[in-house]
Amino acid sequence: MTDAIQTPMPSWEYAPAPESTDIVKLADRYGLFIGGDFVDPKSGRWFETINPATEETLAEVAEAGPEDVGLAVDAARDAGTTWRGLAGSERAKYLFRIARALQERAREFAVLETMNGGKPIKESRDIDLPLAAAHFFYYAGWADKLEYAFPGRTPRPIGVAGQIIPWNFPMLMAAWKLAPALATGNTVVLKPAETTPLTALLLAEVIREAELPPGVVNIVTGAGQTGAALVAAPVDKIAFTGSTEVGKLIRRATAGTGKRLTLELGGKAANVVFEDAALDQAVEGVVNGIFFNQGHVCCAGSRLLVQEPVFEILIDKLKERLQTLRIGDPLDKNTDIGAINSRQQLDKIEELVASGVAEGAEMYQPFCDLPERGFWFRPTLFTGVSQSHRIAREEIFGPVLSILTFRTPEEAVEKANNSPYGLSAGVWTEKGSRILWMAERLRAGVVWANTFNRFDPASPFGGYKESGFGREGGLQGLEPYLAFDGGEI
């Protein structure tokens, strides 16, 4: 025994803790889900879907052409009479069945979600799947209560909804789209994103097992062409979640058609930290805000606005925290940051990050080994960013945080709102009156105060300005799927 200070032990390496993939039984090939059956595409075309963490092919998936989309819309149209004719209480039971089946098979869905999309298993397991089931459960309960939702109005279904969803939360977005549409008596043609079709196809299996009448839900896989075919098809409504660029294309494509439209588009959220904030929790909120799901989140807190007195300490704490982030195998239960969803997305992130460096912002990345194969990007901070930098204006949709400073609440609001987007915003302060003052002024559909990236089926979600229109979730999430007397176009 000596009195010398003992040298720290070798650092504690967590052993790999991979979730088993045995629970997932993949077919070699998946057809289109039309009229209650999986069918081969009339287009005759198939495409491969991969695991972005390994670049291995998982399965072949049908590519729906215009004819296939037309058949799916016909099936949905045919099923509409039956479906809307059902009492709400009976429609509800089908949705409850789906919710329960998702809970039962949550592990299987979570593993597949992670395999196909690259997100950490702890997120697909603890967030995506529980929330997806919860959405079905929540909207199931609305199916026979719609007359209470809109005082003074008599709601009715719209008809056939074409729904186009993104690759960042494949299963959750399917639930956000399907649950309210079905609860309100509409039938659906759903198009999953081309890089992440597999959980939607597994959901088709669940839908079949839940014995939904054939054609109530149809799922057509494919890329942008398939989406364009769906937008052009004789549907009554288009609901789209994705980039602002594509949202505008859809707005133009549906102009003059009378199709109803809701858009949930991009964002460049400001996350505002005041000097009196609970700093250690703010650090967690900032990290969760931008690194959740590799930053593939439309409402990600991608612009950090820090009040100058705490800039230094917050950056120190953030950098320290970044070193503890675990990046790698998405199936490992301890992984914090998984794979970038696709080569294309990785290219986009790299291009924007290079622009940040070129424009003179200072970049910080923690050291960490990246796997050899697959698509990866280190968590990245940029300081010395000004409002005019591309990395402060454009949606990067990756694990990249741009950090700016402010002096007064007015300046924070001005900078936060200085964007064509308006999806979400964050505020960190211990002062109640300031929270409400900020919440009132931030031009964003969701304001998280002293928290970030929280979601709930009862909570409406959607944007201001170029982040889209219409709300998903909550009572407000019913309206986009209902017609009333006259009104919206």
Partner: protein, 317 residues
């Protein structure tokens, strides 16, 4: 990896009262939901195989094997010391625990039993567990246990003063205790279950660290609310900022209610990802427990043999 705790020389003493007040005024608020969310996220870490064995070994080396009953006898202490030195009589690879923690009257028994083993003797003092005896008597008790040979002294924060807003007096009492403890390590028990909020826990942590505590400790084990993961996280975040401000590393002791190996691992994960590898040592982390040790031993055995264990195969002392 079987050595008991190495104790660093006594840390530089208390800060000046003015400096302590300055630190206290700068304490950041704590958001309860955010803190608990972070602790829950860390608790869901999956620690397997070698990493688990490593953690279990460290949990033993960081353990303050504790008995604080009015019915404790010399005989019980002798047995406890034996268990502390050789937790598993048939397995020499199992390390000794860090310390045995007991009441003042029994210190001489433990000092004698543990001489030369590397296992430290820790004693509560200062009118444990209320801390509300006369100040002179409390300081005298601290001096007495130090004189009896206790290596470490666990005292309680004066919650009466602290919750009454009398921070200067609270600080001065703690600084007095620090002085009275002499070369012994001083652990200050905050009794977090009585402080009412994480903000107060964080403030109390800062006050105790500023007064020169070598460790801040969650609980006495004598009230309903013991150590919790968010409480430990809160104190560790305070210690992290204190280190940033002063360059001094203060240890963390969780006590009360830690009975399962799984809990111990969760505390180690929170420690690891909050204060980093430097704190992963008995010099800076302790778990005060009585029944935890056997569960850790069972888990080690499970890891090594692949069989689930039964309590009859582990000694009770």
């Amino acid at each position: 990896m079987s050595q008991a705790a190495e104790i660093t020389p006594r840390a530089p003493g208390s800060l000046a009262p003015r400096e302590a007040v300055r630190l206290l005024a700068r304490v950041h608020a704590v958001d309860a939901v955010g803190l608990e969310g972070r602790a829950a996220a860390l608790a869901s870490r999956s620690i397997k195989k070698d990493a688990k064995l490593w953690a279990l070994d460290l949990a033993i080396r960081c353990m303050d094997l504790t008995t604080l009953e009015g019915s404790d006898t010399a005989g019980k202490i002798v047995a406890l010391c034996s268990k502390a030195v050789r937790p598993d009589p048939v397995d020499p690879s199992i390390p000794s625990v860090a310390a045995v923690c007991l009441y003042p009257q029994l210190v001489p028994v433990a000092v004698q039993e543990l001489a030369g083993t590397g296992v430290k003797v820790a004693s509560v003092a200062g009118s444990f567990p209320s801390g509300l005896g006369p100040l002179d008597a409390r300081l005298q008790e601290i001096r007495d246990v130090a004189a009896m040979g206790a290596d470490e002294i666990d005292i309680v924060l004066n919650r009466s003063l602290f919750l009454g807003g009398r921070y200067r007096e609270t600080f001065e009492e703690l600084a007095g205790a620090r002085e009275a403890a002499g070369s012994a390590h001083l652990k200050v028990i905050l009794e977090t279950g009585e402080l009412g909020s994480y903000d107060r826990i964080r403030q109390a942590s800062v006050l105790a660290m500023a007064a020169g505590a070598d460790f801040i400790k969650t609980s006495t084990g004598k009230i309903g609310v013991n150590a919790t993961l968010p409480t430990a996280l809160c104190m560790e975040e305070a210690a992290r900022d204190f280190f940033r401000e002063t360059g001094r590393r203060v240890g963390i002791k969780v006590a009360g209610g830690v009975r399962a190996a799984k809990q111990a691992i969760q505390y180690l994960v929170v420690l690891h990802e909050t204060l980093g590898p430097e704190w992963m040592t008995p010099d800076l982390f302790r778990i005060g427990a009585s029944s935890l040790l056997n569960d850790v031993l069972m888990q080690i055995d499970k890891q090594r043999t692949g069989r689930y264990q039964g309590p009859d195969y582990f000694t009770i002392d």
